[in-house]
Amino acid sequence: MKLQRKNRLRAIAAGALAVSGALVLTACGSDDNSGGGGGDSKAASNIKCDGKGQLLASGSSAQKNAMDLWIKTYGEACKDTKLNYKATGSGAGIQEFLQGKTAFAGSDSALKPEEVKSSEKVCKGGKAIDLPMVGGPIAVGFNVPGVDKLTLNAEVLAKIFNSEIKKWDDPAIKALNKDAKLPSLKIQAFHRSDESGTTDNFTKYLKAAAPKAWPHEPGKAWEGKGGQSADGSSGVSSQVKQVSGSISYFELSYATANSIKTVDLNTGASAPVQATVENASKAISEAKVKGTGKDLALDLAYDTKADGAYPITLVTYEIACDKGNKASTLPATKSFLNYVASEDGQTSLKELGYAPLPTEIANKVRESVKSLS
């Protein structure tokens, strides 16, 4: 008995050593991902620094990489301001902003009327407004053996994601892809199991472009019939990579990172449109501002037929008070958002797979930012 105990102690000690060794190793091995893909951050000379101290913001994870780059560039120019953006998700970001914990929030969807109403508590004498800052294409990635190019339209997409088209060699798909060798394989459509702005924008597109084939209400939670699901953009994209016969939707950067083939859209334009940053920009430039006053919430043209306009796009907003921002954070917020909406701030994003705002909208955003108080 005694001997055994001694042995156990020894084994435990050895094991503890091994484990702590492993921990130290992993700590060394953890890579620091800040900097968001290494966009060149030349110290832009036209950043006007203002304000001091900590600036907290949180929200959409879709704009995390953009934020990382902006914060890096801005931070190099303005040493007095420490910016901190937590990618908690749009919902959580809006909640924290409404509780007065953050200077501004990032969100993939414009504010709901009830959120605007409850913002009057935080914005003394004002209300929260949406400022579009960056857009990007939502790619539809697919994994079908032997198929490199796939063209679909809104109606067929809606039917695939609603489990009405079940096989890859369905006549509806064949009609759009005359040259492709489509296998008789079961379609496995993946959607997001968590609530997300990507789902919100994708279902808005389906509803707007194929109202008959998509009977569900658009929203952050998936309401389509059947299909499979996975958690987060990384979850669905890794499933597409893995499962043959699968199709799903995620931001273009995930498709690029995992080398997943993306669907070209037949929008009714002269040729099918590829999911690229330029094509998304083109579609965003057709958006109408639906917000009133300083609020610049956009109505995206999901059913555009313009040549080279890729209609499944996501625009992410910064949300701040039009009046009644906290005096301690207002100068820094204004100066940061000014830079973000500026020419430099916008063009630096191209390398990261984001679509810069079209000039007209960017000008309006700059005006709105200037008038924050």
Binding site: Q4, N7, R8, A11, I12, G15, V19, T88, G89, S90, G91, A92, I94, Q95, E114, E115, K186, Q188, F190, S193, D194, E195, S196, G197, E217, G219, K220, A221, E223, G226, G227, Q228, S229, A230, D231, G235, S238, Q239, Q242, V243, S246
Partner: protein, 329 residues
């Protein structure tokens, strides 16, 4: 009051009495206060958690347009909200049951091997490796499950479908094997270490007398285990299983990574679908508004209640077995 320092010469003749009362020293008083305080603090914390959950849950349920207990969907983004826990309760219970069915026999087997069969030089490392399983973070289990286990289960499921598909609960339509059964297998691996180590400790405590008596009567090693070890360890195995079940019920990240949730109750355990309380909370908390969070807390309260019931049942079983087990469990 006698002093407890006695001349050594008399110590041999009259052994010092065992003291039961406090000496009145400050140390005793402090320790008593500390231990009593810890006990009370625990109760207060539990009551506070229960009160918080109940309060927030009541707010959410009062706003729920659907029947909270029987509705399948979970839609808190719409107004009015419609959400229910039927699918979540089913998925949580079923995946945990599958995990228990797989893990408990294996864990008891491993524990018996370590305590009674393995040569001592082998027993220690084996026990240690099993305990190491508990040190793996659940997200790592989830990633391993999603990237390795799921693709490799397709063959097994097809086999199930060929031979047991007629049962209806083991039919399989093909597709990624991201089902409740897969989750059950993963949970089984995750609860293995806790069930194993508790059972092992219990088997170690079997009185040597019992075993030697059985051997003296000519029992084989298996008969010794059947007659002396298992009856003695039964309540220990049950409480070990309940600890494991508690972990299985509340497992979050691994399930969220592996399962393909939807709001249908599938008859087949092998087809993707279903959901669990913890997975649903993890998936939806980020984007939920205030009301959505309250709704998720309401579902958390149900899990809280289910766990309480499970533990209560386990305690009752153990209490009933006490007279057999020969130990005050």
């Amino acid at each position: 009051m006698k002093t407890d320092i006695e001349p050594t010469s008399s110590a041999a003749e009259s052994p010092p009495k065992v003291r039961t009362r406090s000496t009145g020293r400050a140390g005793d008083k402090i320790f008593l206060g500390l231990s009593r305080g810890s006990g009370i603090a625990l109760l207060v914390i539990m009551a506070a958690i229960a009160a918080f959950l109940t309060y927030r849950a009541a707010i959410a349920i009062s706003k729920d347009e659907a029947n909270f207990l029987t509705y399948f969907e979970w839609n808190t983004g719409s107004s009015p909200m419609r959400f229910g826990i039927a699918v979540l309760a089913y998925g949580t219970v079923v995946s945990s049951i599958i995990a228990m069915v797989i893990a408990v026999p294996i864990a008891v087997g491993i524990a018996l091997f370590i305590s009674h069969y393995a040569p001592r030089r082998l027993a220690t490392p084996v026990a240690y490796v099993i305990d190491l399983l508990a040190a793996v973070p659940s997200i790592v289990y989830g990633l391993w499950g999603a990237l390795f286990l799921v693709p490799h289960l397709t063959g097994l499921y097809t086999w199930f479908d060929d031979y047991l598909g007629w049962t209806g609960i083991l039919s399989y339509q093909g597709g990624a094997a991201r089902s409740l059964f897969t989750v059950g297998i993963l949970l089984a691996i995750m609860i293995l270490p806790i069930v194993t180590s508790v059972s092992r400790e219990v088997f170690r405590q079997v009185p040597k007398m019992h075993e030697e008596a059985a051997l003296a009567l000519g029992a084989t090693r298996w008969e010794v285990i059947r007659m002396a070890v298992l009856p003695f360890g039964r309540s220990g195995i049950i409480s070990a299983s309940m600890l494991g079940l508690g972990r299985a019920l509340g497992e979050t990240m691994a399930v969220a990574t592996v399962l393909s949730p939807n709001f249908l109750i599938e008859t087949s355990l092998l087809d993707p679908g279903g959901g669990t309380f913890a997975q649903n909370i993890a998936s939806r908390f980020k984007e939920a508004g205030n009301d959505g969070r309250d709704a998720l807390i309401a579902s958390g309260l149900v899990l809280f209640v289910i766990t309480l019931l499970v533990n209560g049942a386990a305690r009752m079983i153990i209490a009933r077995r006490k007279e057999y087990s020969g130990t005050a469990a």
